[in-house]
């Protein structure tokens, strides 16, 4: 088998002095026609830069190839060294021989051009098609990525389609001229997990149909199991391990690969669920939520009345015991964050009752309930010093900053694993993981009994995630904290949750013991969700393509959903009966 692409000792640098600022430090690999290679690594590992070097897009981002070669076997059989190719030659290769798709489908399509125009462009450039022929080709391309109603959608502007649909459009564009190599740079990271499964399935099918080779870049080693033939693991600009899929996954040699495979959360279908807590009889819950409803009025136009409301959260109820973690899982638009925000008083609930063990929450600002937010970069005021940031809850609760308070700050900083001198520093001097530790310390300043964690580790790198999760578990045991853990990431949830509530379209569809829900899901949505979670156990799995859409949450005025019917599936596991 001749290799399609042969990269040897590739080195790429950035900035005015690229040799001094090397991001990729000597990477080599071979890729045969029709083969898929996954490049796995965390942010800053150089995985994307490696990929962008292959079609030399790296030049436009301020990068420069300073060494090595990238030999591409072209359609006519000649071999070209991409590192020495001139721009006009590269323009011919891009799109026709090497296609590429990116992480953010929402921003990767030109907002002012219609989808049809953008797909047609590839045919115009590389196939010389014009007019009706180009349009017909674009329609076929949309059909190929299973977009229903393709003819009409050609005239859509990108902002009229969802993220998953846009990624399909991107794929259609990239594959328009049947390139022999597709570079996919984290193509599913920005998408919901069920949509991710769809895109992965589509890529798998197209690969079989066209026989193209693929370079698949991801931070999620679990995701590659389904699609790759070989894996390259990158860390700090170097390939620390490369080899065949099963070889690397089953017998990892390098410590970093071992770390990625063992320490980083992977979904294990409930086998890794926590079993360190059991409910006692007749205990008062730390938090009791009953019949929570949040609706947002849809504003009517100038000439008409309100057209109804978005039923963001519909009759959600649960209880949470001291020392217990309840995870609320769901995809975007499921209402999981709105539920968390309503409990903290950031969103006004339409109906519903919350109570902590101290009694019913009347005031939204109960010091017994604290929150940690998703984005560690936005949740600390950049202009305040850490001591002021940590003092804020104390001041808000009517206290004064005394020596005792400062002692407490220092103790908490130490407890979350930050140096004592952090108090005199500003947020921008900390990394994402450290900032999230600061947020946790701030949430603990008032000795809360409940901490709401809204996607608290989602923005962090996978190996940092594992450490923060560990810290959260330790703190929970130490202080007897109850966690309400809101997340879309099933692998993370499995590591921290005792119980799980699955939210779909604003309603709880399944709730119960974590191990039981994850290993034996009952509701069809839960099943779909769990089967979509990538896992290293499921190699080259065939995903079903399914174009179901999330139902609209907009209801006419006065609409009340029917009473839910529940079915029990064990001592602590119930699911909503489906109509």
């Amino acid at each position: 088998m001749t290799s399609l692409l042969s990269v040897s000792n590739l080195r790429v640098g950035f900035g005015h002095d690229p040799a001094k600022n090397e991001i990729v430090k000597g990477v080599s690999f071979d890729l045969a026609a029709g083969e898929t290679m996954a490049i796995v690594g965390e942010s800053g590992s150089g995985k994307s830069v490696t990929a962008l070097s292959i079609n030399r897009l790296v030049d436009f981002g301020g990068g420069k190839i300073i060494g090595g070669s990238i030999k591409l076997t072209r359609v006519d059989g000649s071999v070209l060294d991409i590192t020495e190719a001139k721009e006009p030659v590269l323009e011919k290769i891009r799109g026709s021989e090497i296609g590429m798709i990116f992480q953010e489908p929402m921003t990767s399509l030109n907002p002012v051009l219609s989808i049809g125009t953008q797909i047609e462009e590839s045919f115009r450039l590389h196939r010389g098609l014009t007019g009706r022929q180009a349009t017909a080709a674009a329609k076929d391309a949309l059909d190929r990525v299973r977009i229903p109603d393709a003819t009409r959608r050609l005239n859509y502007a990108p902002n009229q389609l969802s993220g998953g649909m846009l990624q399909r459009v991107m794929i259609a564009t990239a594959l328009a001229c049947n390139p022999r190599l597709l570079i996919a740079d984290e193509p599913t990271t920005a998408l919901d997990v069920t949509v991710q499964a769809q895109i992965m399935a589509l890529l798998g099918e197209l690969k079989r149909e066209t026989g193209m080779a693929m370079i698949f870049i991801t931070h999620d080693i679990g995701l590659v199991a389904g699609i790759a033939d070989q894996i390259m693991v990158m860390q700090a600009g170097q390939a620390v391990e490369q080899g065949a899929l099963s070889e690397v996954l089953d017998r990892p040699q390098h410590p970093y690969t071992q770390h990625l495979l063992s320490a980083v959360p992977h979904f294990e279908s409930g086998r890794a669920a926590r079993a360190d807590f059991s409910r006692k009889e007749k205990e008062t819950p730390a938090l009791d939520v009953d019949g929570l409803v949040v609706r947002f009025k849809v504003k009517g136009s100038m000439f008409s009345r309100a057209q109804g409301s978005v039923h963001a959260v519909e009759n959600v109820g649960f209880d949470l015991m001291p020392g217990e973690t309840l995870a609320i899982v769901g995809e975007s638009g499921s209402g999981k964050s709105t539920t968390a925000r309503a409990i903290l008083g950031l969103v006004k609930p339409t109906r519903g009752r919350f109570a902590t063990h101290k009694g019913s929450i009347t005031d939204a600002t109960d010091p017994a309930t604290q929150m940690v937010f998703q984005n560690p970069y936005a949740s600390l005021n950049p202009r305040l010093r850490i001591d002021s940031i940590l003092a804020e809850p104390v001041i808000a609760a009517g206290g004064r900053v005394t020596n005792e308070t400062r002692e407490k700050m220092k103790a908490l900083l130490k407890r979350v694993g930050l140096p004592e001198d952090s108090l005199e520093r500003y947020p921008h001097q900390f990394s994402g993981g450290q900032r999230q530790r600061l947020c946790i310390a701030r949430a603990l300043m008032l000795n809360p009994s409940v901490v709401v964690l809204d996607e608290a580790v989602s923005a962090l790198d996978v190996s940092v995630q594992a450490k923060v999760l560990e810290l959260l578990v330790d703190l929970q045991k130490e202080y007897g904290l109850a966690y309400l853990f809101v997340s879309h990431d099933m692998a993370v949830v499995e590591r921290i949750a005792h119980r799980i509530a699955v939210l779909y379209a604003g309603q709880i569809v399944e709730i119960g013991n974590a191990a039981s829900v994850l290993s034996n899901p009952q509701h069809s949505y839960t099943k779909r969700l769990i089967s979509a979670v990538p896992s290293i156990d499921r190699r080259n799995q065939h995903f079903e393509i399914d174009t179901r859409q999330v139902p609209s949450l907009v209801r006419p005025p006065g609409f009340e959903p029917p009473e839910a019917q529940w079915r029990e599936f064990g001592p602590d596991h119930r699911a909503r009966a489906e109509a």
């Binding site: 079609n55 897009l57 436009f60 981002g61 721009e87 006009p88 590269l90 323009e91 011919k92 290769i93 891009r94 799109g95 026709s96 296609g99 590429m100 990116f102 953010e104 921003t107 990767s108 399509l109 030109n110 907002p111 002012v112 051009l113 462009e121 590839s122 450039l125 590389h126 502007a157 902002n159 009229q160 991107m170 564009t173 990239a174 504003k299 136009s301 100038m302």
Partner: protein, 320 residues
């Protein structure tokens, strides 16, 4: 509510606010309304004449009724009578307006014709010497008041070539287009000078922003040639802030016309406002200000319409 509907709804509201402001501003002038309307000549009136005049102008009535009557008059095209010119305000304005409009449009053409290519050019030569030169020139251009530009042009022409560009009676475009354009080109350059500099700066930075956007990378990954990346993918997106700027700048052009018309002795609307203020011809001041604000608002509305056709995100409502 869609962006356009909201925009169309606010237009009359803002215009109403403008009319209130203009009407009551003139009433705030120290001294009584007769003085305000007749200017210095009011000093010669006897008390009896004043009273009959007050009744004639309706200023013995409550202020809100006066405003209402005035507003109805405005809708019927009655902006009052200029004391100095002895003619209806609207007819004087309409006489002078074409010149100012022509001046503003010509400066806009000058500014866009120079600024847009310069900005795009600088953005594609980012951080190179040619980019730096364009940026320095644009910075200087933006920092030079238009009347200073005008004075320096006049000085350079008169000292260097012995020409006085202000000479001669103004010729309307329809009478003698060539002569008219000859007379108008220097004022247009003067007025468009700083605007050209802003267009350069805005289009350069917009272009730079856009060139680092994800969809430009996508276009390159498809093998779109450089020229096409710039003109077809990047420029339409970079034009959006330039269009916004042009709408706002049109107001500055109408305002700046006051100074430029003064320097080049052009009988336009700007000079009319100035004369009216200096001669305390308040009905004329009121009419001119209202008229210019109305035009400015209309231009901004048109710019927003253009904006909407450029950017489907606004046309279709962001995120549904």
């Amino acid at each position: 509510m869609s962006y356009l509907a909201r925009r169309l709804l606010t237009f009359p509201l803002v215009m109403l606010g403008v009319s209130i402001l203009v009407f009551f501003a003139i009433r705030m002038i120290p001294g009584d309304a007769i003085t305000a309307m007749l200017g210095t000549e009011a000093g010669l009136l006897t008390p009896a004449q004043r009273e009959s005049l007050a009744a004639y102008f309706g200023i013995d009535q409550p202020i809100l009724i006066q405003y209402w009557k005035w507003l109805i008059g405005v809708f019927q095209g009655n902006l009052g009578i200029s004391v100095i010119h002895g003619k209806p305000v609207l007819s004087i304005i309409l006489e002078r307006f074409p010149l100012t409009l022509q001046l503003a449009l010509m400066s806009m053409v000058v500014a866009l014709a120079v600024g847009l290519p310069a900005g795009v050019f600088a953005a594609t030569r980012n951080e190179k010497a040619s980019d730096l030169i364009v940026r320095v020139l644009a910075m200087i251009g933006q920092s030079t008041p238009n009347f200073v530009v005008g004075l320096l042009i006049i000085y350079a022409l008169s000292a260097g070539f012995g020409i006085l560009p202000t000479m001669g009676e103004f010729t309307p475009f329809l009478t003698d287009p060539l002569r008219n354009l000859g007379q108008m080109i220097l004022p247009a350059i003067t007025l468009g000078f700083a605007f050209a500099a802003s267009v350069t700066r805005i289009s350069r930075s917009a272009m730079l922003d856009v060139l680092s956007d994800d969809y430009v990378r996508t276009a390159r990954s498809k093998g779109v040639p450089k020229r096409s990346v710039i003109w077809r993918h990047a420029l339409p997106n970079a034009l959006i802030p330039v269009v916004t700027l042009s709408g706002v700048e049109f107001g500055y052009l109408l305002g700046g016309a006051v100074l430029v018309e003064q320097i080049y002795a052009l009988p336009g609307l700007g000079r009319l406002v100035l004369e009216a203020i200096l001669q305390r011809d308040y009905a004329l001041v009121q009419g001119c200000v209202l008229f210019i604000a109305f035009n400015f608002l209309v231009v901004n509305l048109l710019v927003d319409l253009l904006y909407v056709t450029l950017d489907p995100r606004i046309r279709l409502g962001e995120g549904g």
